[in-house]
Symmetry: C2
Subunit: 345 residues, 2 copies
DNA sequence: TTGAAAGCGGTACCAA
DNA sequence: TTGGTACCGCTTTCAA
């Protein structure tokens, strides 16, 4: 790891000349602040003569004037900021792609998307911190926001609150991610393929509990009324952890595993193969999320595909909600989990 | 893909009662706005009686009062916001991890980290958009910011501008990512292993040019003065593209490939193996970034490891720069690329 | 211990 | 066509 050397306090700061305001521009152009505002905002209700416009623009450029967003927001009473709290774990490929699309789509609708990283706050405290920014809409990934938090956000001016989670929250639009359905599909598939002693990987990484718990619960549902059993398998995302699990595999007496997602599945499948366990003969392995990498291993990894909302669709939902804040919160099932059967099961 | 149905404008909005301000709290508590501010900020320069404090807190809670960050910023003349423009491509695992750590570390130093997604703006226009938010510091990933943009940001109050790129920018702190060094190491390794006809994968995805171009250039440097040759290989991140490249592999007459990074390397290696090309006998393959997945394939993937700055170190740099804005901009080489030799070369 | 008031930087109404 | 000015919500002297 590269260390950045700790530079001891260097030469004292030369006082940076203070930042130019619209008053400075007005002074330099020899006009009023009002005129500056009209010119720079192209206010259509007011005609400003061409020479004046030129002088204002010239003065603004000369000073390097940049308007102060906070001042404008304060005066306007609203902003176009859509706030997305950053998730508590580093984003996976699926989520990164989604955020990227969502940002692009909202930008095109002339919103500003901001991912806000405020670790250390929880539940309603977090909601209060978000509310301080007075966003016009908030998109909350994962659980942790309660009805109280939604109320705080709405009271402070948010015209749309959208949750991206397994459970709807009172007062908020909900994009329901059916993680239990993923577990149900995966385990159901394994049972249908004749497997009976099914392991379910549960990542030990703390931020993943919100996904892994419902996936495990779904798997349990799938074996209800069959003679199949579910065994919980804690696993860290390291080769060591996978090797340790693989080493005690024979003693576990399992014939299949639902590995939380494709990444954990790959990790475990490799460790099992290195232990001489044959996939799928000795043990069927299924992942989830249908990542590219699952198609690159041999055998190809069976998986459960889930469809996140497209960034475009979601941006549309947010936009509609913002324009119509009185509307009933909508709930949308964001996907039906579907099994992609390849060679590992 | 799940479609979100387009709800036609539903019931008209019930006017949401306007958001409570500190004046409302003052009125309800029967005190002045000043007192409210003192109480809620625990101002140490002023003693407020316990009964008054209680009344203020009670009133604030009752109204669900949340302070207005923009107003505070405006009055204070500065904020603690560190701005990170979102990169133009979906974040990879390395970058996601880095951002996560960086956010956490800065949060602990009491900064607010904001990732700002403003696609569609370029160069100095983008810098102006960032400057409107009056961040106390800006961390810019990738190129695209010029000296002019740095000046705009500083003029509008940014006390630290840090670039994370291959080239330093006048006036800004620089974390130098030696992508050319990655290419040099990779190609140098292949040459040292006796390979002579070296392909270099160049992703066709547009946002990746900023990395792929210097990596390719580095590879070219490495074969200077040897009898080895470099062949550019465009590749999209799809199985089809990889299969197509693999199909014409024999005609290419290559004996090694540096595949841009581990993900492209995996993709290509698999396609080559499916075509009957033996790795590493017929073709050596090396990736970059040392991702976990490279250790899961067989043969294990050789790679070039690069050390991104740790989030903690970088947060420290930003903090120091903010506290000492007069200091000379520092440049740090963020890593020396090192080859991790495994089984694919 | 508390309150009155100025002012941060824009915007938009009303006059001129 | 342009200027004067009130005001957005909050902090912070200065007085009482």
């Amino acid at each position: 790891m590269v260390q950045i050397p700790n530079t001891p306090a260097p030469t004292p700061s030369s006082a940076p000349r203070s930042v130019p305001t619209s008053a400075d521009v007005a002074r330099l152009a020899g006009v009023s602040r009002a005129t500056v505002s009209y010119v720079l905002n192209n206010t259509s209700a007011v005609r400003i003569s061409e020479p004046t416009r030129r002088r204002v623009h010239q003065a603004a450029k000369e000073l390097g004037y940049v308007p102060h967003a906070a001042a404008r927001t304060l005066r306007a009473g609203h902003s176009r900021m859509v706030l997305m709290p950053a998730p508590p774990v580093p984003a996976g490929p699926l989520y990164s792609q989604f955020v990227h699309d969502f940002q692009g789509a909202l930008s095109r609708l002339d919103y500003i998307v901001v991912q806000y990283g405020a670790s250390g706050l929880h539940g309603d405290d977090a909601a209060r911190a978000w509310a301080e920014l007075r966003p016009v809409a908030v998109l909350v990934p994962g659980p942790g926001l309660g009805p109280e938090g939604v109320a705080v956000l709405k009271r402070s001016g948010a015209r749309a609150v959208v949750t991206l989670s397994s459970e709807p929250v009172e007062g908020a639009h909900a994009l329901l991610l059916d993680h239990a359905g993923v577990g149900r599909s995966a385990a159901g598939h394994l049972v249908a393929r004749g497997r009976r002693r099914i392991g379910v990987v549960v990542p030990v990484e703390p931020g993943l509990k919100m996904f892994s718990v419902p996936r495990l619960a779904g798997a349990r549902q799938a074996v209800q009324g069959t003679d199949a059993t579910i065994t919980e398998l804690p696993l860290a995302y390291t080769e060591e952890s996978a090797a340790a699990l693989a080493a005690r595999w024979p003693g576990l007496g399992l014939d299949a595993v639902f590995a939380y997602n494709d990444e954990y599945a790959m990790l475990l499948m490799r460790a099992l193969q290195d232990e001489g366990v044959r996939i799928p003969e000795d043990a069927a392995v299924i992942g989830a999320d249908d990542l590219m990498l699952g198609r690159l291993l041999r055998p190809r990894l069976s998986t459960v595909r889930i469809a996140l909302p497209s960034g475009r669709d979601l941006a549309g939902l947010v936009d509609r909600a913002v324009r119509n804040p009185g509307a009933q919160p909508e709930s949308h099932e964001m996907f039906e989990a579907t099994v992609v059967h390849r060679d590992s099961t």
